[in-house]
């Protein structure tokens, strides 16, 4: 349709990559945290709940700054990572994915938790009486039944991850081909004289991806609903 330059395609690809990696990184911990929050009874549950939701209310730039402090070359985690494993997160694609993952983590947790709370505990009790132990029960009953929530969370986080700006630019900077995702590229274009056309094209791509993501989420939700026999 619209002719994108190689550099602009690079930004689109990078955005998709960063969003995918962020979801991949945060999905399993998000399911674990959601399970703890929904079912666990332990001291500090409220604190954990607040901590998880922090990125939703704190300005993204502050989250990026926090990540810099922790995962920076001299940070408490960043320093040993760099010294022992030679891993550097700041100003890298991995760093952009990490910043995106932290920002979208509460979105996944919320969706997964909602899915989990919709699971009838009576079914898990039934599985128990049929001889299924805790792990067996989780993987054969709880997980499949909460999967619509997990998928909804993943798709939402992916769509939101495509557009993450503040945390990424603060933590990973705005390096074309490296950390310059779609929103960063749009921002850069608007800062460049004569970049209006580029900004418009990229904005359209961004918009299309978001709509496609929403439609996909809806389609999956329907399929899953039918699979679980909700609308048979």
């Amino acid at each position: 349709m619209i002719g994108l330059t190689a550099e602009e395609w690079g930004a689109v690809r990078l955005s998709l990559e960063v969003a995918t990696r962020s979801v991949a990184v945060s999905l399993v911990p998000a399911v674990a945290v959601a399970y703890l929050l929904a079912r666990g009874r332990f001291p500090g549950r409220t604190l954990l709940d607040a901590l998880v939701h922090l990125p939703l209310v704190v300005p993204p730039v502050v989250v990026g700054w926090g990540l810099l402090m922790i995962f920076g070359i001299r940070g408490p985690i960043g320093a040993p990572l760099h010294e022992w494993f030679g891993v550097r997160l700041v100003f890298t694609t991995e760093g952009a994915a990490l910043a995106t993952a932290v920002m979208s983590f509460p979105l996944i947790v919320r969706a997964v938790r909602l899915g989990l709370e919709g699971v009838d505990t009576g079914l898990e009790a039934a599985a128990r009486t049929l001889g299924a132990g805790p792990l067996d029960r989780f993987f054969t009953v709880t997980l499949p039944l909460m999967s619509p929530g997990i998928l909804a969370g993943a798709v939402t986080a992916f769509a939101a991850g495509l557009g993450e700006f503040g945390a990424v630019i603060t933590f990973a900077s705005n390096i074309p081909g490296e950390t310059q995702t779609l929103p960063l590229a749009i921002y850069a274009a608007t800062q460049t004289p004569g970049g209006e056309a580029v900004a418009a094209r990229l904005a359209l791509v961004s918009f299309s991806l978001a709509v496609a993501g929403l439609l996909l989420a809806e389609l999956i939700a329907r399929r899953m609903g039918r699979w679980l026999g909700r609308t048979a």
Partner: protein, 369 residues
């Protein structure tokens, strides 16, 4: 022997369950009582799904719960099958996978019915590929029954399995429950508040009220007692009599029982069929002389054993002995006074042949081969 002793308090000011009873490790033991009497709680505690404050549950020599000794076997290791009121089939699995869920987790050396046995017993072969959401309530409950059965349980626990079904679906599932009971000899604890289910299925009865056991005995023995308001105050109170069909002729079935013969227009089955009949006390009248010119077909010579309270003012129960069997008649106190009824008097008990409820009062117990 299934030994159950439980004490559990709900919330701070909730009611307290304080109950102890033994049930034979064979046949159907019904836990019977009004809603909220704690019978489902007892079942949940036996299943292990609820940890009572105090208690002991033992199945034969196997102690499943003994709070005083810190013994608690988790439900997944108790090997007790549970059939819930709401079926609880896994919605994401096909009927067949649901059925095999317990089977796959049963110990290898466990001997139980095979998959094909259960499927044909419950008549669910045509449902195997379907999803639970596409099944009717009755079909769901049959699949749930099969799923519990296939886990090779040592004891089957049923929590009002018919309560969520309408009359037609109940009638559809009840015969399967009866067949299941006759199969194998798997002991069953059956929670219900429906007397017709007790009549149809139960051998033993544990009567519960407000978290306490009021009485526990065989169903026949308890049905003849007039001191149990939970049973005697019901309008359908009456003695449950085991009998056998001796002949069927002219639309009348003759039932012999210990102490006489009853004629009924109900058609329970061919001669040889054994069944239980609930003879409602309100359907039995008495006469002090042998009546003549009456349409009533059953006129049994009896001896008045006792006159007792019937719960309602103005009414009394007559305990009538015929051979080893006791019948109950509900009459007015005025009649007792007018006829000067005294224990020891010979009387005639009158029972109309059309009295017996064709649907629920006469239930198939076992059909001859």
């Amino acid at each position: 022997m299934i030994a159950v002793a439980l004490r559990h308090r709900f919330g701070r000011d909730g009611f307290t369950l304080d109950t102890a009873f033994n049930a034979p490790q064979a046949g159907v033991t019904a836990l019977f009582g009004p809603s909220g009497c704690g019978k489902s709680t007892i079942l949940a505690a036996v299943a292990g799904l609820l940890r009572p404050d105090e208690g002991r549950v033992a199945l034969g020599g196997d102690v499943l719960l003994y709070t005083a000794r810190g013994v608690f076997t988790p439900p997944e290791r108790r090997r007790l099958g549970v059939v819930f009121q709401d079926a609880r089939l896994f919605p994401h699995l096909s009927v067949e996978t649901n059925l095999r869920y317990g089977l796959r987790r049963a110990p290898r050396d466990a001997n139980g019915p095979t998959f094909d046995d259960v499927v044909s017993l419950l008549g669910i072969a045509h449902l195997l590929a379907r999803r639970p959401a596409g099944l009717s309530g009755g079909e769901r409950q049959r699949v749930a029954l099969g799923r519990a059965l296939l886990a090779c349980p040592r004891l089957l626990l049923m929590d009002e399995p018919l309560a969520a079904l309408d009359a037609a679906r109940r009638a559809e599932v009840l015969p399967f429950l009866a067949r299941l009971r006759d199969l194998a000899g798997l002991p069953i604890l059956y929670v219900t508040h429906a007397l017709d289910e007790v009549d149809a299925l139960a051998d033993h009865l544990v009567l519960l009220e407000a978290g306490r056991v009021i009485a526990a005995d065989s169903v026949e023995a308890l049905s003849a007692r007039t001191d149990l308001p939970a049973l005697a105050a019901r309008r359908d109170a009456g003695v449950l009599i085991p009998c056998t069909v001796v002949s069927v002729a002219d639309g009348l079935t003759a039932l012999s029982f210990a102490g006489g013969t009853l004629l009924t227009t109900a058609r329970p089955g061919p001669p040889g069929t054994r069944l239980r009949v609930r003879l409602r006390a309100r359907d039995v009248a008495v006469a002090t002389e042998e009546p003549r010119g009456l349409s009533t077909r059953n006129i049994l010579p009896v001896v008045l054993a006792a006159v007792t309270e019937a719960g309602e003012p103005g009414e009394a129960f007559l305990r009538l002995a015929t051979g080893p069997t006791t019948l109950l008649a509900r009459v007015t106190r005025e009649s007792v006074a007018r006829l000067a009824l005294r224990p020891g008097m010979p009387l005639w008990a009158l029972v109309k042949a059309v009295t017996f409820d064709h649907r629920s009062a006469v239930m198939e117990e076992t059909t001859p081969p």
